[in-house]
Point group: D2
Amino acid sequence: MREELLEICETGNAEEQEILRLAMQAIKQKRERNSAFLSGFMGLTGQFLDERTYQFIVPITPFMHNPLGVVHGGILATLIDSTMGSLVNRSLPENQFGVTTELKVNYLRSSREGTLRSEATILHRGQTLIVLQGSVFDERDRLLAHGTATFMILHK
Amino acid sequence: MREELLEICETGNAEEQEILRLAMQAIKQKRERNSAFLSGFMGLTGQFLDERTYQFIVPITPFMHNPLGVVHGGILATLIDSTMGSLVNRSLPENQFGVTTELKVNYLRSSREGTLRSEATILHRGQTLIVLQGSVFDERDRLLAHGTATFMILHK
Amino acid sequence: MREELLEICETGNAEEQEILRLAMQAIKQKRERNSAFLSGFMGLTGQFLDERTYQFIVPITPFMHNPLGVVHGGILATLIDSTMGSLVNRSLPENQFGVTTELKVNYLRSSREGTLRSEATILHRGQTLIVLQGSVFDERDRLLAHGTATFMILHK
Amino acid sequence: MREELLEICETGNAEEQEILRLAMQAIKQKRERNSAFLSGFMGLTGQFLDERTYQFIVPITPFMHNPLGVVHGGILATLIDSTMGSLVNRSLPENQFGVTTELKVNYLRSSREGTLRSEATILHRGQTLIVLQGSVFDERDRLLAHGTATFMILHK
């Protein structure tokens, strides 16, 4: 593996080197805060906008592209799910966590480059289930995807 | 970057080395058949079961894990979307292709390891829209996730 | 009200008389087995096909038509939801019941007349949630609509 | 039929008389503005709040109740679908109309009585597809149900 890695590292194109860079970023984020590798590849770091709204801002990289060169539908689903999951888990007490039971995404526009902004809001918080909506915007504030999902609250 | 890569390559744990191996696999699949990097990381290669059913079989790797150590919901969504997309695009004439307009996934069970089998079937083929369902099973044939989606047919 | 009713009863067109007939059917079903009026209007009566599959067969009536003269999307959603709900409630012990927490329907074809067959199957039965799929066919066995839903199990 | 109708009209309970009243309302709305009977039973009449938002306000009647005495999930789906459909059709040119291709509803709370307010907004208007979201509130402004849907634009 060493030889191959070095070869890509030295002679690979920009996109390929970017993938290696993201792999290291993912490994680092996993070491430092036990992020999913997938989150590390996507560069996910979020913040609260207000008590009910959580936000991720991430750069579009070749890792996110589908074969048509636009952000993969699976990445947008992951982004929405992760933003919602972060909001849910940050809003639950220590001994509880949430898991996605269903997620629906409507894909509205495609995007090639720039920055994605993902926001999630709680629509309803029940005893057992939390229902959320999430939106992903491009850097010109156009809505790219909209999702709704249900999380189930579990006890550790 | 070179030094860091070599360090992980030589002293990283098994999981981290696996991530580097998958990065190279993704780069290779991109070079050879213009796969999305994401598909290469997931090791997606599919086949027809019959005229209306397409199948992917993929190994669960650390790349797929969420922080709880089970397959990430975003990965299951990507897997269902990719299986459906492969089916749609292989069943359309040369000058057409399909894009996902909406996808809903129900998450039923979690899985840590082994193999995932993803199957997609066409429910309805219209002039403009194709509606599909997809299922992901673990290696004991238990249903992990079920999805339905709509693809829109576009002309190149 | 009496006069108006008698007038429609005697001089109304076939469709209008059918609506009055269905109103009486709904009132009767409510009296006899505490059906929802809506179920009585739709003439819902179901049966098990096997342990995991429940079926409704209902005639298309003017009550079900949208302004275009085909079965209303809301009626198809109601039919799928009701078939699933019947299956869920017949499969739970006496002291439990299920409520719909989410329902997604894909509309595939329209239908004007004849008979609708609605079938629901359980995809996954958890401790708290039951996930189902449902299909509605016309009398030529063409798929008109497909749905997936989650029911939550509650205790009486 | 005449005898039965008269009997319910004279000796039926309040709920049953209400059903007959709604049947006549539905017949009248059908005659006057070619409403679906289902819309007439529900008393649907809407208005624009602004260019992108349409609103229905309807009273909860026994027609809407499920066997538990709360508004039927199918009615909420119909309400959301109808509000969206009205918005879509009022916003399209004369020679076009929209049909629902998919609808997902999350059910958040139940409601027994009072008034329902249903609002729909366009999330994205494409050449072929329009994606909307809709919400139903009770008279204390609590969110009862939330939906997203796709309409396809057809030419007359």
